[in-house]
Amino acid sequence: NAGVTQTPKFRILKIGQSMTLQCTQDMNHNYMYWYRQDPGMGLKLIYYSVGAGITDKGEVPNGYNVSRSTTEDFPLRLELAAPSQTSVYFCASSYTATGGSYEQYFGPGTRLTVT
C-alpha cells in the first residue's frame, strides 16, 4: 500500500496563476481532508469529504475548491493564487464508522510558494 500520495512535492506559483494539488489514497477510506500548515502554526482544515460526491468547508476554505468524483482522489484547486496561500498543504484520509478512532493518515505534503 502506498497510503496517501500527493503531487507535486514543491511548486512555485506567480500571483494570479492557478493549479491543482493532487491527492490519492489506496486504503479505501471514505473520509478525505485537506489541511494547510503555516510556519509555527498547527494544521488548519481547508475542505473535507465524507465520500464520493460529498464535500464540505473546513475552517479556512476561501480561495480553494475541491471535488471528489472517486473514493481514491481528492484534488484541491487554487484558482487565483495569492501570497497568503504560501504554505505546506497536507492531504489526509480516514475510515470512519460508528465508534471510529478518528485516526487520520497523512500524505507527505506539498510545499507551495506564491510570489
Binding site: L43, S101, P108
Partner: protein
Amino acid sequence: DQQVKQNSPSLSVQEGRISILNCDYTNSMFDYFLWYKKYPAEGPTFLISISSIKDKNEDGRFTVFLNKSAKHLSLHIVPSQPGDSAVYFCAASEWSSGDKLTFGTGTRLAVRP
C-alpha cells in the same frame, strides 16, 4: 480563537529521561484526543489517542493522560530516544463533528544523546 493550545514551542530532554508534552483545550465538547508526530518534510503520523471516557492510555513507551476537569492532556515518553526528536501535535475532536480534528501548534522535542 485557539481551541487547542500547546504552550511550549520546544522541549529538550536527555536521552533515557522522560519527555512530557502538554496540551490544553477550551472546547468542553471535545471527547477524543490524539497525538501526532511529525518529522521534517514528512506528513504527521498518528502516535496515540485517548477517549474522554478514559484518563490514561498506554502504548509501549508512550502514555497519554487526560484530565477532563482541567481540560488538559499530556504525552509522556519514557525512556526518550534520539529518534523521538520531532514535532508533536495534539489534536482534538468532538463526536458531533465527525472526524474533523482541531490541531494545536505543536511542540518541537529534541532528545540529546
